[in-house]
Symmetry: C2
Subunit: 245 residues, 2 copies
DNA sequence: TCCTGCATACTAGTATATCAATTTATTCCG
DNA sequence: CGGAATAAATTGATATACTAGTATGCAGGA
């Protein structure tokens, strides 16, 4: 962690904000706070900053060569997402993964993605199917290479694409915030290489059901897919006792 | 809007944050920024600040006798919820209700509340049913009095109670943010007094289904209930053209 | 030894000042 | 008279300074 921070690039606003927030098509500077948010977000998700780690606005500000203000804004956003806990006048820590919330997060995913995939199966076009297939193809090669990180990114892309096909971009925004806690727990499991092939196959089943406009089959395939990825929290908890609460 | 702001009361943290964020049972100062956020949130929802209204950090800060910093933090949080739009170096406005997002918001509610009510029907205890009934009872009298505002608060309580029964408090947190845009649109409809009686009846049906552990019936009743409250955006749009986008 | 109370050293919350970018009005030239 | 260039004003973004809680450790007494 070091060095200067990129400044003041001008880019189209990246989706941001919750359901229905769509900024009017307008240009928006990527602010310093945004950059720091992204960095911390990635660091926490990748466990480079493990749960329970103490954070200090001042120290972070010094590391990035910025003032406390943008750091503070980034931390506030992270705390809303449940990734850090801010104790006023005391300190800020990377939040421990709330085990109790993980089953609920899975329920949310199943509920929302079930609804989404049904809609997608109803209205998907051949072009949509092609998009799904291209993502799956990339996943196949990444699985062969054993690149778990890139594989996971494509996994996100697949689910996001389905939301896009269904015409529910806002639902994907919600899912992203919900998925975070699940993903953090999953990062702790050893890179189960064999699992990637399973995922590819499950994605193929989902794609086939959507392509054939088989609403019920699509839902069933998605339910099976989401049910298979629940991390074994009980085991993780004994292995990393102070990462959970 | 006037006068000083209450300072530094100490209260238990009010639920806040997304799924799985549960602040460790701890005392937390209600910060100035929190107070301003709550105030602005209420003002926007009650349409005292109508969509399209210009906001200025400086002016708000002066009104509340605080500096721009907490005002800014409150506005940032509001913008994440899609209640204000911040145009950098230009201005901040109360967001217009994004009509395009309302159907999607309804989809989310149906999906999540459908799942929730099913679970509630499975595990509800007699005490849970009593809680629901007491809320419905209050709604009956409020409907008779024609107190639409308090009625709406009890409506929220009813749905939150079901989430509580199901053991999905985090889902309610998500629903709150999704409901906001729908509620804003609904506030524009004339206080349809007759509608309140319908709502009470629909709630009774939901309660009965939960009490009888009729999972399918509970879902059906909830779907009907949620389908009935979709505001007629098309009509509203002609009546309040610059409240929407 | 263990508990209590105070002093100290932090940390986050808030205020104020400065910087930079965008919008808007105005002026000057064609 | 009109349009482009420019200057002024507005306001968001960032930096710095200050205030006020909170935790911790040590001293002293039970």
């Amino acid at each position: 962690m070091s060095g200067h921070l990129m400044q003041a690039a001008v880019v189209p606003v990246p989706a941001a904000a919750a359901l229905g927030a769509e900024r009017p098509a307008k240009l928006r500077r990527v602010t310093t706070a945004d950059a720091i948010f992204d960095r911390l977000y990635a660091d926490i998700l990748a466990l480079r900053m493990p749960p329970g780690m103490q954070l200090q606005e001042k120290r972070i500000a010094e590391e990035f060569n910025v003032s406390r203000t943008p750091v503070r804004e980034a931390l506030l956003r992270l705390s809303e997402g449940g990734l850090v806990d801010i104790y006023p006048q005391s300190g800020t820590v990377v939040s421990r993964v709330p085990v109790s919330a993980i089953p609920e997060a899975v329920v949310v995913r199943k509920s929302l993605e079930g609804t989404t995939v049904e809609r997608a199966a109803e209205i998907a076009t051949p072009a949509d199917i092609a998009r799904l297939e291209s993502i799956i193809a990339r996943q196949r090669s990444l699985a062969a290479l054993g690149d778990t990180f890139a594989f996971h990114e494509e996994d996100e892309a697949f689910h996001e694409a389905i939301a896009g096909i269904a015409g529910y971009p806002g639902i994907w925004t919600i899912l992203k915030t919900v998925k975070v806690q699940i993903d953090r727990a999953r990062r702790l499991t050893l890179p189960a290489l064999g699992r990637m092939d399973n995922v590819v196959h499950e994605h193929e089943l989902i794609r086939d059901a959507i392509a054939g406009h088989h609403v019920e089959a699509a839902r069933a395939a998605m339910m099976h897919h989401l049910g298979a990825v629940i991390p074994d929290v009980a085991e993780l908890r004994t292995r990393y006792p102070d990462y959970f609460c």
